[in-house]
Assembly symmetry: C2
Homo-oligomer: 217 residues x 2
């Protein structure tokens, strides 16, 4: 990149981070804890959000559903009675803080709770942008294979919570547990990792227990 | 984006397309047909490349392996005796034409054949950048679910050839064939779609037949 291009990119990041802090303060003051949900296409982000919500029926949840196009996931959540709004980025590969700031006008927040922001399905770009979150939750499917921490290190390095989804598929893809965990621990020594399966609810009790221990539900 | 930012982005795209044409001309003149292999993380891009190569033992193949970090896939290909070089983008979310132009110096092309360029695992950004290819081959795993054409339309719209991989996992993810095919055909009426499984070779005979019909192998 030329000097001018680098300067423009830096300006975009600085402005994004400033707005992310504003978004976080506003939601934090309203008693809302914000979870940025990241993962590759088809990793199981929406299914994981639904499973966590259904494990905590007494808690207030909100969802901002980010997609390039379509409202498939937002409709699914709304049909379950979950307060959800849809953002379509029309091509953009990640959510950013200005987009979240604008979208908050459409979300009626009347009591404390947890806001899941489901980012665009992309294991690369979303990890580079703050969007006002308290924590980043990374969703990685067993079907993607055990080498993902080595190939997409930033997302694993920055994750505060990791869910390995579709664990029932491990045996069909020769998933190597040792290789996967070793790859994550080289980047991120402490982040909790939970193995889950949204089809039968496996592992979501442990995720709920972790959220409770951290006073989030 | 501001006017200045839009101008910079447009300049980057124009310059990229100019270099992509140069790369394509150089390789075309050498009798090399270039396939840009795109798909999400863990879709099975490398396994599909290996299966196609092993189905065509008499043909010359070259591979440029694009990853953010690591050389796991390049080593796998080299161990099979396939002429492969590795590009690490160190964070960048897609390959671009200048990167390919530079990397060609490291690839010894001494006879006509097919060059696979495996793009970064990302179903969004690579679709926006020409890298000198003759065709784009999209790899989509059944484990990702059948709604991908609706959520990531650009990649499906631009694909010249689509492989639905890991078809043995369809039954475990309630894959909806009709929904998947309908979604693709709304974007792309004619692109051939092959259902494959790299573990047992299923479907790669049909891919090879298609390549032969098009005088590529």
């Amino acid at each position: 990149m030329s000097g001018k291009e680098i300067e423009v990119v830096q300006n975009i990041h600085d402005e994004n981070d400033r707005i992310a802090q504003e978004v976080n303060k506003k939601l934090n003051d309203a008693g809302v804890f914000v979870i940025n949900v990241m993962g590759a296409p088809g990793a199981g982000k929406t299914s994981s959000i639904i499973s966590i919500i259904q494990n905590n029926p007494d808690k207030q949840f909100y969802v901002i559903e980010g997609d390039i196009e379509s409202d498939i996931d937002a409709v699914k959540l709304q049909e379950l009675g979950i307060d959800t709004i849809q953002i379509n980025t029309n091509g953009a590969c990640h959510l950013d803080a200005p987009v979240i700031q604008s979208s908050l006008q459409g979300l009626k927040i009347d009591k404390p709770g947890i806001l899941f922001i489901e980012n665009i399905g992309n294991l690369v770009c979303p990890a580079e942008f703050q969007i006002g979150e308290h924590i980043k939750m990374l969703i990685c499917s067993a079907a993607e294979g055990s080498d993902k921490p080595y190939k997409y290190p930033l997302a694993f390095e920055k994750a505060d919570l990791i869910l390995l989804t579709k664990c029932d598929l491990k045996e069909f893809v020769d998933f190597d547990d040792d290789f996967f965990y070793k790859g994550i621990r080289a980047l991120n020594k402490t982040t909790p990792i939970f193995e889950v399966n949204a089809k039968n609810g496996q592992g979501f009790g442990e995720v709920t227990a972790w959220l409770k221990e951290n006073n989030l539900t």
